[in-house]
C-alpha cells in the first residue's frame, strides 16, 4: 500500500517512465508473438518433413509447380527402403497466382485418402465434421484448414467455390499454427481436374488429368534414413526432379527462423533499454527528492539494506505495472492485427503464455535492476546530512 502511495507522489514522472517501459514491453510482446508464429510455421514444416522425402519437379519453393507423370510412381515404389509413396496435387488457391502474403500461401491439396498407408506421423485434428475417406475419391468435397475456413466463413455443410468449382465442406481442421491452416484438402481426382484446367490450353490437350501429380510423398521404411532414400531416389529419377527431406527443409528455413527471432528480439530489447534508463532516472530523482525522508528512516533505525530494498521494490513495481500495461496493449494489438489480417489470410501473431510471462518477468526484473544504483546511493547517505537536506 505504502509503495503505491510513494509511486503516486510523483505522478507525471512515474507515468512517463511507465509509458516508456510499457511501449518496450508492447514491442516485445508484438514482435515476440510474430516470432512465435514464424517459428510455429517453420517448426511445423520441419516436423512434417522429418520422416519422409517429397519428390517434385522443380523446387517446392520456386513457386512454379510443374506436373510429374504418374508413371514414375511405380518406379519410386520399387526403390529399396520405400514403405509407401502417394501422389498429390498441390496448387495455389488463388487462380491469378498473386499469393504474396507473409507466412504460407493458401493452397489446394489433393491427396488419395489413405494413400499414406497409415504412415503419416504429422496428424491433423478435426475441429468439426470428418476427414476425407476412400468413398470421397471421385466427389467434390473438401476439408478446410482453420484459417481458410474462417476467411471463407464456411462451416461443415456449406458449399465453397475453389477455383470456380463448388465443393461441399465436410470437415474443418483444428488450428495447427502452421501451413495446413490455410489449405483446402480435396480428393486427388478433383485436384487433378482443377490443375489441368489451370494449364494453358495448348498444354491442356496434351495431358490426361488422371496421370499427373505435382509431387509424391515418399515414406521411408522404419530404420531407413530419409537422406539415404533421397540419394536413391535422385539416382533413379534424374536431375530434373527435386527430392526434399527434413534436413533440406531445416537448412533452408532454420537459419531464417533464428535470424528473424534475433532481429525482432533486438528491436524490442533496444526499446526496453531506453525504458530501463528512464527508470534509473525516475528512481534517482525519487531518491533525491526523498533524501530527507531517507535520513529520517535511517535515524530512527532503518538499516541500509532496508532502504535499498524499499527503492528496489518500488522500481520493480514500476516495471511490473509497465509490463502489465505493455502486455495488455500488445495482446490487444496482436488480436486486432490477426482479426484484420484474417480476411486476407494473414494471421501473423501468436501470443503464447511463455511470451506473456517472459515480458512480465523481464519488465519487473528490469525495473529492479534499474532501481539498484539509486538504491545503493540512498543507502549510503549520511542520516544527519540527509535530515538537514532541504
Amino acid at each position: 500500500m505504502r509503495l503505491v502511495r510513494d509511486l503516486g507522489r510523483r505522478k507525471l514522472r512515474t507515468d512517463l517512465t511507465i509509458t516508456g517501459i510499457a511501449i518496450g514491453i508492447m514491442a516485445l510482446v508484438v514482435f515476440g508473438s510474430m516470432a512465435n508464429k514464424m517459428n510455429a510455421l517453420i517448426g511445423g514444416g520441419s516436423k512434417y518433413y522429418q520422416d519422409k522425402a517429397i519428390v517434385s519437379v522443380g523446387s517446392m519453393f520456386s513457386g512454379t509447380i510443374q506436373p510429374l507423370a504418374l508413371a514414375d510412381l511405380d518406379k519410386i515404389r520399387g526403390v529399396e527402403g520405400v514403405a509407401a509413396a502417394t501422389p498429390s496435387v498441390d496448387m495455389l488457391l488463388s487462380s491469378d497466382g498473386a499469393a504474396a502474403s507473409m507466412g504460407t500461401p493458401e493452397m489446394i491439396t489433393g491427396n488419395i485418402p489413405g494413400g499414406d498407408k497409415g504412415l503419416e506421423t504429422f496428424r491433423l485434428e478435426l475441429s468439426a465434421g470428418r476427414d476425407l475417406t476412400a468413398a470421397d475419391a471421385t466427389t467434390k468435397v473438401t476439408v478446410l484448414g482453420a484459417d481458410l475456413a474462417r476467411r471463407l466463413n464456411a462451416k461443415v455443410g456449406d458449399t465453397v467455390t475453389l477455383r470456380g468449382v463448388k465443393f461441399a465442406v465436410v470437415g474443418v481442421w483444428a488450428p495447427t499454427l502452421t501451413a495446413p491452416d490455410k489449405d483446402a484438402y480435396v480428393p486427388l481426382v478433383a485436384a487433378q481436374e482443377l490443375f489441368v484446367k489451370s494449364l494453358p490450353p495448348l498444354i491442356q490437350s496434351k495431358v490426361t488429368a488422371s496421370e499427373i501429380a505435382t509431387g509424391v510423398t515418399v515414406y521411408a521404411t522404419k530404420g531407413t534414413d530419409p537422406e539415404l532414400l533421397k540419394t536413391r531416389l535422385t539416382a533413379l529419377l534424374g536431375g530434373s526432379y527435386t527430392v526434399m527431406t527434413g534436413k533440406d527443409f531445416d537448412a533452408l528455413l532454420g537459419s531464417f527462423s533464428a535470424i528473424f527471432t534475433l532481429v525482432l528480439t533486438g528491436v524490442a530489447m533496444l526499446s526496453l533499454l531506453v525504458g530501463g534508463l528512464s527508470t534509473v532516472n525516475t528512481m534517482a530523482m525519487a531518491v533525491a527528492e526523498r533524501t530527507r525522508e531517507i535520513g529520517i528512516k535511517r535515524a530512527i533505525g532503518a538499516s541500509r539494506w532496508r532502504i535499498r530494498r524499499e527503492i528496489v521494490f518500488e522500481a520493480s513495481a514500476i516495471g511490473l505495472i509497465s509490463g502489465l500495461i505493455g502486455l495488455a496493449i500488445g495482446a490487444a494489438m496482436t488480436m486486432l492485427f490477426n482479426d484484420l489480417g484474417r480476411a486476407s489470410g494473414n494471421v501473423l501473431f501468436e501470443l503464447t503464455l511463455g511470451t506473456a510471462a517472459t515480458a512480465l518477468i523481464f519488465a519487473t526484473v528490469l525495473g529492479g535492476i534499474a532501481g539498484f544504483v539509486p538504491a545503493w546511493h540512498a543507502s549510503r547517505l549520511d542520516p544527519v546530512t540527509a535530515l538537514r537536506y532541504e
Binding site: 505504502r2 510513494d6 507522489r9 529520517i296 535511517r298 535515524a299 530512527i300 533505525g301
Partner: protein, 248 residues
C-alpha cells in the same frame, strides 16, 4: 549507574579541502539512568554534534588524540559497525527532532509503526503498541491523519509517540520545541517530564530555550566544542553522580 558515558569525544568536520571545523574538542559526559538532561549552548558550540554522537548517528573521531570511548549501558559502542549502530538506534533509542521529521505520505499511526518495524516488531503487536503510544501523547483520534493535516504541536507529539513506542532506554531530542509557540512548547515539555517521572524514561534534550533547561533535572552547558558546566551543582535525583563530578 550511568546509562550513557562518553570520554575523549572529538569531531572534526571537513567542509572543504582546507576548511575544517573542530566541532567537538574532547568531551567527557555522563548521563544517569532516569535523568532528564538539557544540553545548552550557543550556535556552533557543538551541542548538536554531541547529540549525534550520543545518538550513534555519527562516530567520534578516532584518528587523532586519545581513543574515544562511548558506553551505552556499560558496553563500548564507540567503534561499532554501521549495522550495529543502526540496530541500537532502532531498539534502544528514540529520536525527536526540531522539524518533527515525520514521513509525509504515512498517517500518524503508520509513522509510529515504522519505528516498531525497524525494531523488529510487526503486525498486530506493532499496531497495539502504536495505538498505546499515540494514546500517551493524546492523539488517539488523529491516528489516521497524515502529518500535513496536523498542527505543529500535534506533529511533534506524533514524533514523541514514535520515539516512545519501543520503550527505549534513552530518548534524544534535538531542539524539540524549536518550531513551536510557547504554549505548544510547554505541552511538549510536560509530556517529556511526565514520561520521565512516571516511567523513569531517560531523556536528553538539546535546546536553545532556557525555559526547557529549567524544566530539566540538570543543564549541561557547552561552548566552543567543550563542556563548560556539567550542571552537577544543581540537585540531581541520583546519588553517585557526585562521584563522577569528583573525577571531572
Amino acid at each position: 549507574m550511568a546509562i550513557l558515558e562518553g570520554r575523549n569525544l572529538r569531531k572534526t568536520y571537513k567542509l572543504g579541502r582546507r576548511n575544517t571545523v573542530e566541532a567537538l574538542k574532547g568531551v567527557e559526559i555522563s548521563i544517569e539512568k532516569g535523568e532528564m538532561v538539557a544540553i545548552m549552548g550557543p550556535s556552533g558550540s557543538g551541542k548538536s554534534t554531541l547529540m549525534h554522537i550520543l545518538g550513534l548517528l555519527h562516530t567520534p573521531d578516532s584518528n587523532h588524540g586519545p581513543a574515544p570511548e562511548l558506553y551505552l549501558g556499560g558496553e563500548n559502542v564507540a567503534d561499532a559497525s554501521d549495522n550495529a549502530r543502526t540496530k541500537i538506534r532502532a531498539r534502544r533509542m528514540g529520536f525527536v527532532f526540531q522539524d518533527f521529521n515525520l514521513v509525509p505520505t504515512l498517517t500518524a499511526i503508520e509513522n509510529v509503526m515504522l519505528a516498531c518495524e525497524y525494531a523488529g516488531i510487526k503486525g498486530k503487536q506493532a499496531k497495539a503498541a502504536a495505538i498505546e503510544a499515540l494514546g500517551l501523547v493524546g492523539l488517539t483520534d488523529w491516528a489516521d491523519h497524515k502529518p500535513a493535516e496536523l498542527s505543529g504541536g500535534e506533529q511533534q507529539r506524533v514524533s514523541i509517540a514514535r520515539a516512545l513506542v519501543n520503550k527505549p532506554e534513552i530518548i534524544l531530542a534535538d531542539e524539540p520545541t524549536g518550531n513551536l509557540d510557547s504554549d505548544r512548547s510547554a505541552e511538549v515539555l510536560a509530556l517529556f517530564r511526565q514520561f520521565n517521572r512516571e516511567q523513569g524514561q531517560t531523556i536528553v534534550l538539546v535546546t536553545h530555550d532556557s525555559d526547557v533547561g529549567e524544566a530539566c533535572d540538570r543543564v549541561i552547558k557547552m561552548r566552543d566544542g567543550r563542556i563548560r558546566d556539567t550542571g552537577l551543582h544543581t540537585t540531581t535525583p541520583v546519588m553517585d553522580v557526585q562521584a563522577t563530578a569528583a573525577t571531572a
